[in-house]
Assembly symmetry: none
Homo-oligomer: 231 residues x 2
DNA sequence: CTGAGTCCTAACAACGTCTTAACGCCCGCC
DNA sequence: GGCGGGCGTTAAGACGTTGTTAGGACTCAG
């Protein structure tokens, strides 16, 4: 249930700096894009919509502040400026042009990463989507660990819930007995095929309209079970 | 209708620095508040809800990071840390604790003002949030650290309160035992699952109508606890 | 030193969950 | 038509988890 790792765009012309930052960013688990010119940076930003942009002001083709001005016309992603120039006037200009932070070279990897985390935190509030699975009269909120049937909350025990979301993960497909036992009971020993029958019964009673004539929690005789999805 | 000029809270003990910043901030047209200690800073923040907070880490009464931790329990206002310590590790720690920016002394007035403008830009969209949580007969003022039940103030001990607002922060979602212990007790060792049971009992006695039949502070057996929200 | 307040710990009671077993049903096969 | 295997259903006991209470250790202020 982990979100895909955030994508960072680096706009920087010096190869040495690029290498250094690539290592730092990929090491921290970010997806990584790079551009050597302002124009290329703008193109990549438009194409990939990165969550954070690192922008060097000293680019060969256009002024860094112009890049930012263009970016800001349509893009809200936080921009962290990276520059060799530490003059206060430069910082003020960049920040007032829309930069969210300004780092003067040389700087340490861990500070950069911390400032990227701050930038992501700012961008986050809009990006917090809840993973919810709906099917027929059911509504399963994976984040809240809550199951609703016709808007009514239904309580599932830990094993019931685990079995249920295992079927949801493979919704539509048949899941074999063996696979279910492994994923829910964790590969421990025992006369376990019986467990499945017991727990499927319980699930059907809690979730199905007619437990004896299940609409969704279907048996695949001799193979396993399957959560039917609408077609 | 012109918005009133933003209010800035400065938490700083050195008189000289205070004088310097007062001139800078008032000169820039901000309304201005100052506190010489962490405690005073927290009180002023709760009373006045400033748009930006400037926080010196070297305070006489408490650690600057503790001030931030307390602040962040209820307050989303951007915090710009001002510190004499320029070590990278200090910066990273402060930023990860919730600071939005970190300035090392000495710094120029215009850079500070530019960074305040950035902070205000960030704060603007979601600025209208009241740090008050209400649910059923409860009313929790996160800024004042005050809990009312049917308008009656109820006293919670520090740990009770921390546990309670942790559940509030994840309202509706199940919070696992492990997560609660980590967030409330801070990952220290011990036979801790018991703590949760004891403190949940106490919370229920102070907050629920029928402590033995809790309406909101619900147990999710085998998993954790959850603050039920109306649906 | 005393008292108030808070936190941790231990013991026991109460509860929910998991496992297990027994039985009934349906269906295909001999 | 009888038999057996796979599946569904139910209930009951074992087991672990959770709720509750009370007492002792500790800190802090007066």
């Amino acid at each position: 249930m982990t979100a895909p790792s955030p994508q960072v765009l680096l706009v920087e012309d010096e190869p040495q700096m690029r290498r250094f930052l690539r290592v730092a960013l990929e090491g921290a688990g970010y997806r990584y894009l790079e551009a050597a010119t302002g124009q290329e940076g703008l193109n990549l930003a438009a194409q990939h919509r990165p969550q954070v942009i690192l922008l060097d002001l000293g680019l060969p083709d256009m002024d860094g502040l112009d890049v930012m001005a263009h970016l800001r016309e349509w893009c809200q992603a936080p921009v962290i400026v990276i520059s060799a120039r530490g003059q206060e006037a430069d910082k003020v200009k960049a920040l007032d042009f829309g930069a969210d932070d300004y780092l003067t070279k040389p700087f340490g990897t861990s500070e950069l990463l911390a400032r990227i985390r701050v930038a992501l935190r700012h961008a986050d509030p809009g990006a917090a989507e809840e993973p919810v699975f709906t099917l027929g009269r059911w509504r399963v909120d994976l984040a809240k660990r809550q199951v609703l049937v016709d808007g009514q909350e239904v309580h599932l025990t830990p094993l019931e819930y685990k079995l249920f979301i295992t079927l949801i993960r493979h919704a539509g497909k048949v899941v074999t007995h063996r696979q279910l036992l492994k994923e829910v009971w964790g590969g421990v020993a025992g006369a376990q095929p019986l467990y499945l029958r017991v727990y499927m019964t319980q699930l059907r009673h809690k979730l199905e309209l007619e437990p004896s004539r299940p609409t969704y929690l279907q048996t695949e005789p001799g193979v396993g079970y399957r959560l039917r999805t609408e077609e």
